[in-house]
């Protein structure tokens, strides 16, 4: 007997009767949740705000803080698409949510991501990323977010399912703002001979979107930020220590 033809396979698949469990009463569950949240004052966001929704409550807080930061920022460090501000005394409250790589965009392949962002996505040696996302809505130009799951040698970053998250953006846009509580939290270093910054303390991040800043979100991983000569800004969040992170960054190809 020969292999099934595509047509035979398609018809057989269409005829498969999957044994789905009974569909739960989602309408009641969802409306009950929404009504409860509404009674606490949560409503659908105004158009133009937010990359994602459940953190919407924080937008007003974020904007207020940003306004305050604009006045009070004591020091600013910019590198490509990212800016770091020192705001003395800022300590991320545990109530501030973390952000998952998957919240930042939609899944794609590396090739699809490259087609969207218009630059080559550099990958570190070793296993391919477990997830690739195209980050849309960030300051007008999409970026790429690559994420790797934890391994025995690289545990998950706090608040995420990942051990390594590598974001890349065109340096032509302002993508994110980080605030740290002390300039001693920022260590200047180099990646491939170019200036880089290393942060290994919890800090806050806002993402600049087409519609304004979104955040704050709490960052618990170690972060390395650098820019390449080609004008691509990288942000690596990892559970690796500084030396390991820099070594990995320098091996991107």
């Amino acid at each position: 007997m020969s292999e099934p033809t595509t047509r035979e396979l398609e018809r057989a698949l269409s005829a498969l009767a999957i044994g789905y469990p009974p569909t739960p009463d989602l309408a009641s569950a969802v409306t009950t949740r929404l009504s409860a949240e509404r009674s606490r004052g949560v409503r659908p966001a105004l158009p133009g705000f937010a990359l994602w929704s459940r953190r919407r409550l924080l937008v007003a807080v974020a904007l207020g803080l940003l306004a305050a930061l604009a006045v009070a920022a004591a020091a600013r460090l910019a590198i490509g698409a990212l800016e770091i501000r020192v705001e003395p005394g800022v300590t991320p409250a545990t109530s501030v949510p973390t952000v998952d790589a998957g919240d930042l965009g939609r899944p794609a392949s590396v090739a699809e991501a490259e087609a969207e962002v218009g630059f080559r996505v550099a990958l570190p040696p070793g296993p391919a990323p477990d997830q690739v996302y195209v980050a849309e809505g960030l300051a007008g130009e999409p970026g790429v977010v690559l994420a790797w799951g934890p391994t025995p040698g690289a545990p998950a970053i706090g608040g995420t399912d990942w051990s390594l998250v590598l974001m890349s953006f065109s340096s032509d846009v302002d993508v994110a703002l980080k605030t740290v509580g002390s300039d001693e939290s920022i260590r200047e270093t180099t990646v491939g001979g170019r200036t880089a910054y290393w942060l290994d303390v919890p800090h806050l991040i806002w993402f600049e979107t087409d519609e304004g800043p979104q955040g704050p979100y709490r960052v618990l991983g170690n972060v390395l930020i650098w820019e390449t000569a080609e004008g691509i800004t990288y942000r690596m969040e990892t559970s690796l220590p500084r030396v390991g992170a820099i070594a990995l960054a320098e091996r991107l190809a």
Partner: protein, 195 residues
């Protein structure tokens, strides 16, 4: 106009204004396909329930980003599939159940003999096992097209790719499925009556 069921764009407009009941209508309209999408990814009824529920809540707060001239279903299912995938990732070590066939045999069966029914069931079990062994992106492009009956355009929207990419992904997924089928197995399908 009294009694006319509201169309999706009308319900969405109401929901955007904070009308939770209107949104409940939308949930009711799409709860089955949402739950099934989540189930096909998580292969757990409990996880699928949570994922679908969270996705509906998330979609409610994201309604302002939805373009009302576009179909709601693929936009929603994209959120559902993201939620379901997040659950699978966070439960990576957990054993996931295999998909199974519905009790009572394949749909559309025109009263076959017991032997024919048994043979068909066995073939379908084999097909389902082979499908369960596929990696998620292969499994889901097949599931969207043949189990959930989404169009190519809808599948593209859910996957966040171009329609042409759906074609090529589907072709590759079917090829990999075929490789997993035992030699000589010819999937039989019931005769479907013209409607």
């Amino acid at each position: 106009m009294e009694g006319r069921p509201l169309q999706d764009p009308e319900l969405i407009e109401l929901a955007r204004d904070g009308d939770v009941r209107a949104y409940g209508e939308l949930v009711e309209r799409y709860r089955e396909v949402a739950f099934r999408t989540a189930y096909l990814i998580t292969r757990s009824a409990a996880d699928a329930d949570e994922a679908a529920q969270d996705a509906f809540v998330k979609a409610y707060y994201a309604l302002h980003r939805f373009r009302t001239q576009e179909p709601f279903r693929p936009w929603l299912l994209r959120i559902v599939s993201n939620e379901a995938r997040n659950r699978v990732r966070s439960a990576r070590r957990r054993e996931r159940l295999a998909l199974r066939l519905a009790e009572g045999g394949p749909s559309g069966d025109a009263d076959p003999s017991p032997e024919a029914a048994a043979a068909r069931r066995e073939t379908q079990e084999t097909l389902l096992t082979a499908l369960s062994d596929l990696r998620e992106d292969d499994r889901m492009v097949i599931a969207y097209r043949y189990f959930l009956d989404l169009s190519e355009a809808e599948t593209a929207e859910v996957l966040g790719v171009r329609p042409g990419t759906v074609k090529s992904r589907l072709s590759r997924a079917l090829g990999r499925l075929r490789e997993r089928l035992p030699a000589g197995l010819t999937p039989t399908e019931p005769e479907v009556a013209d409607v």
